[in-house]
């Protein structure tokens, strides 16, 4: 069992967990993830390690409640424990000094790019961060990113905070602005957003690294469920990625594969919700 040392709500449907996992805390490099099975009956779900405290032996996960497993997980309180946490998995982020790097996080992808931004900063890059969400309440980690970044741009679809519009608009403006540089782009978020970002950078040949999120089971290259097409070749995101060259990824295939279990996911969530209502405190 893996103890939940701390738990905080950091936004609507967004929970930050600090988990005791000393070996993972020590081994983990930026860009890697863990596979979590919160209960014995749960699915194995991949979650990016947002931060670690090797001295204390803990790792930090930031989790958005989207379905049955993440919802049930959110009922585990501080002092409780996760059944299984395995990792760190995946290739560490490719970190080098480019000059100015634009780091883009959409929705929950912000949790994924945060450690990348730290690592990119450490090797001497200038960091411009763009975070976007549908609406103000869904923007996360502004304070942390504001401190870290040389420039922080926020966008919301409805204009409730920062610029109105999409992250790609903000990125296009940066590219078009003769006074700013964009030497590389790191991006994580909804697949459709990563696809759009790659389309913006491609004509300018700006190196673009995206972090992919296919459905996984083992996370060790054993099942092939996480396969994605990159540069016309099949790759296993859990061992070859999860980060890939954004200009080579077949996003449409990934988006399509992500819908594989939609009916089952809905069924599972509905049953869980109706069950909790019947036996809960209501």
């Amino acid at each position: 069992m893996y103890q939940v040392v701390d738990k905080q709500t950091i936004g609507p449907n967004l929970t930050q967990y600090e988990i005791m996992a000393p070996r993972i805390a020590r081994a983990r490099k930026c860009g890697q993830f863990v596979i979590v099975r919160p209960f014995a009956h749960s699915e194995r779900i991949p979650l990016t390690v947002a931060d670690t405290n090797p001295g204390k032996g803990t790792i930090t996960l930031i989790v958005q409640t989207v379905g049955k497993t993440t919802l049930e997980m959110s009922q585990i309180e501080k002092g409780g424990a996760f059944q299984d946490v395995a990792g760190p998995l995946g290739m560490p982020s490719h970190i080098e000094k480019f000059g100015t790097v634009v780091v883009i996080g959409g929705g929950l992808g912000t949790a994924v790019i945060y450690p990348q931004a730290i690592a990119l900063k450490e090797v001497g890059n200038k960091i411009v961060t763009i975070i976007g969400a549908r609406t103000k309440d869904l923007l996360i980690m502004q304070d942390l990113l504001a401190k870290l970044s040389d420039q922080l741009i926020m966008t919301t679809d409805d204009g409730s905070s920062g610029k109105k519009g999409l992250v790609t608009h903000a990125l296009q403006e940066l590219i078009d602005d003769p006074n700013s540089r964009v030497d590389a782009v790191y991006c994580a978020g909804p697949v459709i957003m990563m696809k759009a970002v790659a389309q913006v950078t491609k004509p300018h040949n700006i190196p673009t690294i995206v972090s992919l999120n296919p459905v996984m089971v083992d996370g060790t290259g054993m099942c092939g469920g996480c396969r994605v097409t990159v540069g016309g070749k099949t790759k296993f995101a859990c061992v070859d990625g999860p980060e890939f060259d954004g200009h080579q990824v077949d996003y449409d295939e990934l988006m399509d594969r992500l819908t594989t279990y939609k009916p089952q996911e809905k069924n599972s969530l509905d049953q869980f919700k109706s069950h909790t209502c019947k036996c809960g405190r209501h």
Partner: protein
């Protein structure tokens, strides 16, 4: 022939033995069992086992022993059975085989012990596998007392990486020698292919769990969720965790795909993924267990090995109306255990032999709708001595289906080997080990599928045993 107390004690003449026909294993009706996950074979009753045991001719130069990769003294254990001393029979088997309840069920007996049986010449071989299973099950039910380690503690620490048959066997042997053993397992559950690959209807998980419990009784520690190469590295095991030797038995888990167009449509699985979802994650009990699996109404499984048989029979149990094996060679050339092929036939599985897929067809919405195949014919023999299948020009045709499971073999998973500097692998990525199963790194041994390529449970166990012996020697010399 009916047994009386007299019969039991009387030694039969060879002629009398030869007169007994091979007994049948009771099994559940094909149509009934193809709808659930309970075990297919029901095991021999005591009387039947004794009768079968009496068929053994007690050969002086018993060839059956040579056919068994771990050289169990087969006539000796069979004699005990014929005398009604089942626990005595178990003790004979246990000298060479720690997991008889497993091997009795899954060994390909027809190409190992049984195919060397003298009785093959006259009628049919002694049912060595069924007898082994009988004895193991009897022992499980009737064993009293705890397993104990009698050897003095050596104070040496050994790590086994992986908890499949090779890792389990090695750990058990080393513990009995007095070493302090820890198994590191990547998954959340121990057992390797025995839990995530081979389905419940062929090998009940309770049996595997019993073996894992036995190990813990012997003092073996099992740490799950440790992926060696990621969570910990082999150098760390020595330098930071204080181990004196390491046995690598991480299996071969890397799925092979067909490399044909359309293979990434929704509804195409590797057998590894499909079986893991169903067996390890309990997807057949969704939504009680959260992991989903695509069930499929018309299912094609590509391949002809045990994995293919397990996948196709599983699909039937999940409710498919039609489940088909698509294999590029002929029925007799399938590498699966003969019993599994028979069972599959009884359960209504279709066999499209001499057929190879050339493309997975999509329905326009990202889902599989069929498999485009080409007919094959047998040409000249290849390196393996089997006649090589060659495509028949212009013979393409489509099989309609909504689920495709690819079971055409596995390869070496590079995750651990790539993270271990100095560990020599061959050109296919399998670990190189010498006759003592020591690798290029001193104190690091390896066995099972990661050395042999996809092989069998009993060979993996044999490696576990050989490695344990040599690790013990290595530690004594240190």
């Amino acid at each position: 022939m009916t047994e009386t107390k007299d019969d039991l004690n009387r030694k039969l003449t060879p002629k009398e033995r030869l007169a007994i026909e091979r007994q049948q294993m009771p099994q559940r009706d094909g149509a009934e069992r193809a709808r659930d996950f309970n075990e297919v074979n029901l095991g021999l009753a005591e009387k039947i086992a004794i009768r079968e045991a009496k068929r053994c001719l007690q050969c002086k130069n018993a060839k059956c022993i040579e056919g068994c990769p771990v050289n169990i003294d087969i006539p000796a254990f069979i004699t005990k059975i014929s005398e009604g001393d089942f626990l005595g029979a178990a003790a004979v088997i246990r000298k060479d085989n720690n997991l008889p309840a497993v091997t009795g069920r899954v060994c390909p007996q027809e190409v190992q012990c049984e195919c060397r049986c003298l009785r093959c010449k006259s009628d049919s071989p002694v049912a060595i596998g069924w007898l082994e299973r009988f004895v193991a099950d009897y022992e499980m039910k009737h064993r009293t007392g705890k397993l104990e380690v009698t050897a003095a503690k050596t104070g040496k620490k050994v790590a086994c990486i992986g908890s499949g048959p090779a890792g389990i066997t090695c750990a058990g042997e080393l513990a009995k020698m007095g070493h302090d053993v820890t198994i590191f397992e990547a998954f959340h559950k121990a057992g390797g292919v025995l839990v995530y690959g081979i389905p419940e209807f062929r090998l009940p998980k309770a049996i595997v769990q019993r073996e894992i419990d036995n190990l813990q009784e012997l003092g073996v520690k099992i740490e799950t969720n440790v992926i060696v190469g990621r969570t910990l590295t082999i150098p760390q095991l020595f330098e930071e965790e204080g181990f004196d030797a390491v046995f690598i038995a991480n299996g071969a888990g890397l799925p092979t795909f067909m490399n044909v167009p359309g293979e990434n449509f929704k509804g195409v699985y590797s057998a590894n993924e499909y079986l893991t979802r169903v067996n390890l994650m309990g997807a057949y009990q969704f939504p009680k267990f959260d992991t989903p699996v695509i069930k499929g109404n018309r299912v094609c499984v590509v391949g002809g090995g045990n994995t293919a048989m397990d996948a196709v029979r599983t699909s039937k149990r999940l409710g498919a109306a039609e489940s088909t094996i698509v294999y590029r060679r002929a029925l007799e050339q399938m590498p699966a255990r003969v019993e599994e092929v028979h069972h599959a036939q009884e359960e209504g599985i279709r066999f499209e032999m001499l057929t190879a897929p050339v493309e997975v067809l999509g329905n326009g919405d990202g889902w599989v709708k069929g498999l485009r195949c080409i007919r094959m014919e047998l040409g000249e023999p290849d390196e393996s001595g089997r006649r090589r299948p060659v495509p028949v020009k212009g013979s393409e045709f489509n099989i309609e289906c909504d689920l495709v499971i690819v079971a055409i073999g596995i390869n070496a998973n590079p995750l651990l080997t790539q993270a271990t500097p100095g560990l020599k692998v061959n050109k296919w990525g399998y670990i190189e080990a010498d006759e003592n199963l020591m690798t290029s790194l001193p104190g690091v041994f390896a066995g099972g599928d990661i050395v042999r390529g996809a092989a069998t449970v009993i060979l993996a166990m044999g490696d576990g045993k050989t490695a344990a012996r040599n690790i013990d020697k290595y530690l004594a010399g240190k």
